[in-house]
Symmetry: C2
Subunit: 361 residues, 2 copies
């Protein structure tokens, strides 16, 4: 068996140690005689798994006590509706920043439920390659919340700062940046993330919500789309995605063993600097994003000659470097280097890129 | 390692052969160098897994071509809202049957979106133990659909017939009976099921929907709650629960190896007859459900002396027979004997029950 380096943007690589533990425990979790996925979610075995995972996440992110942590389904795309359904009612208005493909989808869904004002828009010449200047943000006093996407997975743009929104709650889609570095959770009203990038397998969504924002859902919101439904039932109003929850817990334990988020941040910064450095030092590869807001997690790059893209991808795959194709909307390549991508994987990519340039440059 | 017989109502036991295959493939699916849960859902490896699973389900259930099969999230509880949000708009009215705890929840959610008429109600003396007489059902001519729950997981009541609803689409929550026996899919407008009983792990929901019922969602329905969103994108509008989809596919392969649904039905009928026979033949155990509508999948039973419940449960667990506690709303015991419960497991339970009666009767 040969494991590859998998640069998929999501579902993405998981730590090998986590997969090995899941493999060992697949037929019998710690003498229970059952797989975790066979356990009643209300039994004492799974309850202990669920509670430990939440406790570890709270510790890793230093989540204050006045925030609920919800283990949900439906992906960030469901949150695009849940956020306005639960929050916009107070004033009927919300501010959004348009900084990439995922921002755009969040805005489109929110417009269906209220008056959305786009307070920042970095779409220029058919692409998103920058962040709005912090001083340029004019938050509406009557906005029920401000929504933004700290890391745009497709464009590889990551905010270098947390927007200051005063008393207006800040809501963030952190799907592709959560757990990559320490974060001041208290600056946010809601943080949400699909699991399949930096948390665990697809099918689990984590939403961290300040308690005072719970309980104001629109009348027509489906019961399953109200935060209060899940907050009031410890995320077990109905059967949660138990196996994903368990795997997320294994990832949290692994993160603690790496030195927590400070430890991960140091590793992630080294990985990103090495890869962007290799791109910038070459005349063959290019990353179009402003240097102050390049993502640590998603690194898009193009080849000098797009006709070489197919050869690059096939030779990379032969070298054990997979899923490097860029999103169809931006083209070229994309290397997603989430927490689970080891430094050796980034080094292998850089070496391959150099060799490919020598052979084709 | 000692595997137990796990009688959980859901999440429930999975076939051991399926778990073993998942274990083997955990770090490397067929030479791909990746776990299935690490694969991009749009890559050719996962696409082949997804398509094979759907093809196998279509073959097993003989699903006609004019039905879409959707691989969703959110459980049957999300369908309680999705069904009215997508269907009730045509007339604003729907007929529901109230035959157990899950019917009741479906009715409560549907009332939030339209005018619900309860055309059958079997709630008598604080319990549900019967099915409505087929001839007693008066379907409303202006109902947008008729909803019922063919198998009530908590009460162990299973319809002995498919209701005749003429031109009004019939909608069924089949979470705990799907795949347990052959079914005339063409009699239904929509069939939905949470996976965690007879399909796979929690976090996957399968909805089989007749194509002409797609496309009429209410204006305020979240995009993720519209059938058209998922039907138009082969269930990949956003990232689906890929690992659950894969495991469901392994279960479908396993079912085919058991002789398909006809083969499973023969096994399931034998298991149910043996267990109900043991209960009826004793003066010590009792099942309250009318004999014509006893569930093949969920067998609730009580002990002559409820003070012995705790001893029964602890001695059963010691004997490797787990998760037999009945739902808190009905008390006593419940043995869920889904497809994955082998006949040997039912025999072990019957033997244990006889011994317990000898020692305590």
């Amino acid at each position: 068996m040969a494991r590859v380096y998998n640069f998929s943007a999501g579902p993405a690589a998981l730590p090998e140690a986590v997969l090995k533990q899941a493999q060992e425990e697949m037929l019998d979790w710690r003498g229970s005689g059952m797989s975790v996925m066979e356990m009643s979610h209300r039994g004492k075995e799974f309850m202990s798994i669920a509670q430990q995972a939440e406790a570890d996440l709270r510790e890793l992110m230093a989540i204050p006590d006045n925030y609920k942590v919800l283990f949900l389904q439906g992906g960030a795309t469901s949150q695009f509706a849940m956020v306005p359904l639960n929050l916009i009612g107070r004033t009927g208005k919300a501010d959004y920043m348009n900084t990439g493909s995922w921002s755009k989808k969040a805005i489109a869904e929110a417009r269906r439920y209220g008056d959305v004002k786009v307070i920042a828009d970095t779409y220029v010449d058919d692409s998103f390659t920058s962040e709005p200047a912090a001083g340029s943000l004019a938050i509406s006093a009557d906005a029920a919340y401000v929504h933004y996407t700290p890391n745009e997975t497709i464009e590889g743009v990551e905010f270098s700062y947390i927007p200051e929104t005063g008393d207006v709650p800040l809501v963030a889609d952190m799907s592709s940046t959560i757990l990559s570095r320490p974060l001041a959770v208290s600056r946010f009203g809601i943080i949400y993330a699909g699991a399949q990038k930096n948390i665990g397998p697809a099918g689990l969504t984590i939403t961290i919500v300040r308690e005072d924002l719970i309980g104001n859902a629109m009348d027509h919101a489906p019961t399953m789309f109200k935060y209060e439904t899940h907050a009031g039932a410890d995320s077990m109003y109905n059967t949660p995605p138990t196996y994903g929850w368990y795997l997320a817990g294994l990832v949290f334990q692994w993160l603690k063993a790496q030195g927590g988020l400070a430890g991960m941040a140091a590793i992630n910064e080294r990985k990103a600097k090495a890869l962007y450095g290799a791109i910038d030092d070459s005349g063959f590869y290019n990353n179009p994003v402003d240097r102050n807001c390049r993502s640590w997690m998603n690194v898009p790059f193009t080849l000098a000659d797009p006709d070489l893209d197919a050869r690059f991808l096939s030779e990379a795959a032969e070298a054990g470097l997979k899923t490097l194709k860029g999103h169809r909307s931006v083209g070229g390549m994309r290397a997603s280097i989430y927490n689970a991508m080891p430094e050796d994987g980034v080094k292998a990519l850089i070496d391959f890129m150099a060799e490919f340039e020598r052979n084709n440059g």
